[in-house]
Symmetry: C2
Subunit: 152 residues, 2 copies
Amino acid sequence: MKRDSRLSGVLHVLLHMAQQPGPFTSETLAKAMDTNPVVIRRIMAGLREIGYVRSEKGHGGGWTIACDLSKVTLRDVYAALGNPPLLAMGNRTEAPGCLVEQAVNAALDQAFDDAEALLLARLGEVTLAMLGEDLRKRLGSRKHQGMKAHRA
Amino acid sequence: MKRDSRLSGVLHVLLHMAQQPGPFTSETLAKAMDTNPVVIRRIMAGLREIGYVRSEKGHGGGWTIACDLSKVTLRDVYAALGNPPLLAMGNRTEAPGCLVEQAVNAALDQAFDDAEALLLARLGEVTLAMLGEDLRKRLGSRKHQGMKAHRA
DNA sequence: TTTCATGTAACTTTATATGTTACATGAAAA
DNA sequence: TTTTCATGTAACATATAAAGTTACATGAAA
């Protein structure tokens, strides 16, 4: 399976947008992310439906943040993407008649569920505002370590 | 990506083998698992190299368990598979120059690393012997709940 | 020497994320 | 009104990885 990077991607977009007033076109964002405008629209669609961002057509149109960044967590963003699978591994069969498989599933599910729960909890602890704050720190210390260009 | 079920599969095989003395041919095991003999050989290869199982060619050949089931954990089995990816999600770019992406990666990595560590820890708590014990309990209570056929 | 079983390479299939093209929709500007 | 710009979305293409399949070499027992 290819690794899912949509959460990573959409957070990148949001954080970029939070740095300056919008709106931003999908094309602008796509260039910054080195990808395709349609990919941007795709990962933003869920956030628009929930109301975290807004989009406008036509001249001067594009994407705008429409939420309180201190109220939205990474977990909320993940949910807006449609709760895609977190774990790369799973059971062979979900509701097996075979008792052997049931025993295996029970053991694995316990571990899997714990890990998923922890991951979601951790994501729920971080707001977009906190991410922005961390970024500001990084931007501040940048000039002290060689002014590496901001690629995007 | 397709969900990886090799750990689930190989545990199923081991638990089956633990129920009665071997050896078992790949074909027998494949039928029990409703899959292909080559798939069995493939997921068993790593375990053979580490010495958890043995394989013999020719008449009377097949697979045999060659380890102390109370000493091998699910984590050990996972490692024998070659430590395949645990998480379905990841960062867009691993070592980005973009500070925005660095900030995103830092936040996500913390959550990802914690979840992975917990998952591995949980797998490390369960031995194959414990799995077998759980299975024996399930086999015992089976007759009290309708004798559902053992599919495999 | 025949039969059986593993070992493995090569290929096919399937699932899923990502990338791309094409075009409809609607809004602002000319 | 017409043109331009931007999103919305379907359809198709590509990439990656697991799982399934075929074919054949290797080696052991009958």
